[in-house]
């Protein structure tokens, strides 16, 4: 007897979801751009395949990244995913070894105990049953954690948990029912036949002592099959779709496909790969410092999936990148947000093309027509002076003259031929416009500045502002080396162009988001600091560093909330009681110094104060006094 009506729901669900996922993958594949298709094909049949399998094992089953961030939450995810995987794997092997046939249909593995109720009498069989019980116990322990998390998220070490919609609740209920119903079904069957191991056997024997176990088992097998079937059928309608989608995402990523600047299949797959685990919420300073809990990446992706207006969410973000670094699925959250910012009001953002089970045509993209389109035709033609090094202070640095003056001192000390590009006030670098989604308009400013830069003949562009640094490096097409001043200073130290006194001060370092996480410059500033002072750790270093809250990326954050974020960051930086808090960004300096009594200084200031004298002695100072001449068009 290899059939019983109760297996029908399970089989319907299983074959439905298998076919559905394959179908969806085909559609996704077809929607890929041509280069991405080639990448994926090459990746699927190359080295990347092994890489993907490894990643699937480590991340989708073991949940390594979550484990690293949060042990309890990781265990919960691992026990459910990896445990279930083991249950299926061992079940299939069990059916294969102990069943009447080899290569059984899946239900034989899932409902093995029902079809082989007296299995487990021999020692070997008993040992295998013990293994199966162990895996089931492993899953159930995770399930208990999940249930507790739903009602009290703090128990798994989470501060916040995502909110659910209706279908998600039904799917969740069916998911929760799967393993308890299996436990009860197997226990009752085992009880009736005197089989089973420490879990099912013991529980079954106890049930059998007061229940007609054999009769009682049958409804639970039905329940087990029904919950599985329901879960599979509902899966595409719920957030649990992230499970199969993530597999696809991993293959794509390992094939070298990236989010890019525009909405596409990859970003759409990313949106569906989010499990709403909530790690991004916990990482978000707007959540833990300012108590704003509706704008985090998980909510953004959910809103995109639900085709809601995301404009309220996308612009209310510091773009500090903390969630990006921590996302266990590796979704490029900041890039997705940037796509939505560029698309705000124009409709060419990421859309959910899946409605119900079916694919719908994406909303036709209307050409973006910005309101009162920005226009910078008033910018005067400028003629730069020739120089080897061009220094661009940036708008914000003009509000922190001590940084500017320090850089002038350092550049003078370097003995190099340098020119101050924006001494009398320059044109904005364009990044703030880009952060507001106005890339095309930013291009006008970029072109203006680019012209000044290449006309100067400089081989190096040094800037004091990480915001400028990022845009100079990524969005300008410059034939010059772009350096943040901390990098430049580090070079000066290495070349022994300048020498510095050791200051005998303890400092903590605030890594600016735009310089650290968003541009990958972590080490140079710290090395410069170590050269002149004692650098203390804060517990928020490198990738985990905090945002000061002053970020220009957030267009919506109100001043009181900004202060809350800044004050948290300032407190963390002040905790080791340093002599100075060092930073490398004028905006961070201004924001943090408002919240602490400890002196906040830019690295340039600290260096300028400790400079001994220029090594290139006798060299004539070559600073050009009036570097930029203004001539009206």
């Amino acid at each position: 007897m290899h059939f019983d009506p109760f297996i029908i729901p399970f089989n319907i669900g299983l074959y439905f979801i298998l076919i559905y996922v394959v179908g969806r993958s085909i559609i996704w594949f077809r929607n890929l751009s041509r280069p991405d298709k080639l990448r994926l094909q090459r990746g699927f049949f190359g080295m990347a395949f092994g890489q993907s399998l490894k990643e699937i094992f480590l991340e989708s089953l073991i949940h390594r990244k979550i484990l690293k961030t949060n042990l309890r939450l990781g265990y919960m995810h691992m026990s459910l995913a990896f445990g279930w995987f083991l249950l299926i794997l061992f079940g299939t092997i069990e059916a294969d070894i102990f069943g009447s046939h080899h290569l059984n249909p899946p239900h034989m593995a899932i409902f093995f105990r029902f079809f082989n109720p007296d299995h487990g009498k021999t020692a070997f069989e008993n040992g295998y049953a013990f293994l199966m019980d162990l895996v089931l116990a492993f899953i159930l322990s995770g399930l208990i954690l999940a249930i507790i998390k739903r009602f009290s998220s703090k128990s798994v070490g989470m501060k916040k948990t995502t909110r659910l919609k209706h279908l998600d609740k039904i799917a969740l209920a069916s998911l929760w029912l799967i393993f308890p119903s299996r436990l009860l079904a197997e226990s009752l069957t085992s009880g009736a036949y005197g089989t089973g191991s420490f879990l099912t056997g013991t529980l079954g024997a106890w049930f059998n002592s007061f229940l007609p176990a054999k009769q009682a088992a049958y409804p639970f097998w039905w329940l087990y099959s029904l919950s599985l079937g329901t879960f599979f059928v509902l899966l595409p309608l719920t957030r649990y779709m992230h499970i199969p989608t993530e597999l696809f995402l991993i293959f794509m990523r390992n094939s070298g496909i990236r989010t890019g600047d525009k909405a596409g299949t990859y970003s759409e797959v990313e949106v569906h790969s989010c499990s709403s685990c909530g790690i991004c919420i916990d990482a978000c300073q707007m959540s833990f410092s300012a108590g704003i809990n509706n704008i985090q990446s998980a909510y953004l992706l959910k809103a995109i999936r639900k085709d809601e207006d995301t404009s309220g969410i996308v612009f209310n973000c510091l773009m500090c990148g903390r969630c990006d670094v921590k996302c266990p699925v590796g979704i490029e959250l900041t890039s997705i947000r940037m796509i939505q910012r560029r698309a705000a009001g124009a409709g060419n953002g990421i859309h959910n093309i899946w409605h119900g089970y079916l694919r719908t045509n994406p909303v036709p993209v209307t050409a973006k027509q910005p309101a009162s389109k920005p226009s910078y035709d008033f910018l005067p033609a400028r003629k730069p002076e020739k120089a080897d090094i061009l220094y661009f202070a940036g708008c914000m640095t003009h509000l922190t003259p001590s940084i500017k003056n320090s850089m002038v001192k350092i550049l003078d000390a370097s003995g190099m031929k340098w020119s101050f590009m924006d001494e009398d006030g320059g044109v904005c670098c364009g990044r703030p416009l880009m952060l507001a989604g106005n890339d095309r308009e930013a291009r006008e400013l970029i072109n203006f500045n680019s012209r000044l830069i290449w006309k100067s003949g400089a081989h190096t562009l040094v800037t004091s502002c990480p915001i400028c640094y990022k845009v100079f490096r990524e969005s300008y097409y410059l034939d010059v080396e772009v350096l943040h001043h901390t990098q430049f200073i580090k070079q000066l130290i290495e070349d022994e162009t300048v020498k510095m006194n050791y200051l005998n001060k303890r400092v903590t370092y605030h890594s600016p988001c735009e310089l650290g996480r968003n541009s990958g410059v972590y080490d140079e500033p710290k090395e410069v600091l170590r050269h002149v002072a004692d650098l203390e750790k804060t517990g928020y270093d490198d990738g985990n560093s905090l945002c000061c809250g002053g970020s220009l990326a957030n267009l919506r954050l109100q001043s009181p909330d900004k202060h809350k974020i800044a004050s948290f960051a300032a407190a963390a930086l002040s905790a080791p009681a340093p002599d100075y808090i060092a930073t490398a960004c004028p905006l961070c300096k201004k924001t943090i110094s408002a919240e602490t009594k400890i002196r906040v200084a830019d690295i340039a200031e600290i260096v300028a104060e400790s400079i001994v004298k220029p090594v290139a002695n006798g060299m004539k100072k070559q600073r050009i006094p009036n570097p930029i001449e203004t001539s009206k068009v």
Binding site: F315, G345, Q369, P370, A371, S372, K373, P374, S375, Y376, F378, L379, P380, C395, M396, H398, L399, D424, G425, G426, V427, C428, G430, P432, L433, A436, N438, L445, G550, L552, L555, R556, L557, Q558, S559, P560, L587, K590
Partner: protein
């Protein structure tokens, strides 16, 4: 019509009641800190754009509040969103979002720039 060599000139007076306040209301709703401006002019003094051309966020703010939308509708395009004004504002006005929301509003209400 007779030509007299002169004609009726448009009144310079701000006719508050006849003006369109939809833009001001839209901005105030989306960015409430817009209301906090006391026209100190700090923003205009530090302005990157104002260094190159006639552009004053203080003036724009006042004129939008009065429903005088034409000049702001044109001027608002000049802002580079660099954000210096945010650091200067004594009242904590979220100036950049005021500019962005104003641009939205001008589009929404079809107010043509000069």
């Amino acid at each position: 019509m007779n030509r007299f060599g002169y004609s009726l000139s448009k009144a310079r007076v701000i006719d508050y009641d006849a003006n369109n306040h939809a833009v001001a209301e839209y901005i105030a709703e989306k960015e409430p800190s817009f209301r906090l401006c006391i026209a100190c002019g700090g923003c205009a003094a530090t302005c990157t754009t104002g260094n190159f051309t006639e552009f004053s966020l203080r003036e724009i703010n006042i004129l939008i509040h009065r429903g005088e939308n034409r000049k702001p509708g044109s001027d608002i395009r000049k802002c580079m969103l660099c954000g210096k004004c945010i650091l200067v504002c004594p009242r904590g006005v979220n100036t950049r979002n005021v500019v962005i929301t104003a641009r939205e509003a001008f589009k929404k209400f079809g107010i043509n720039a000069l």
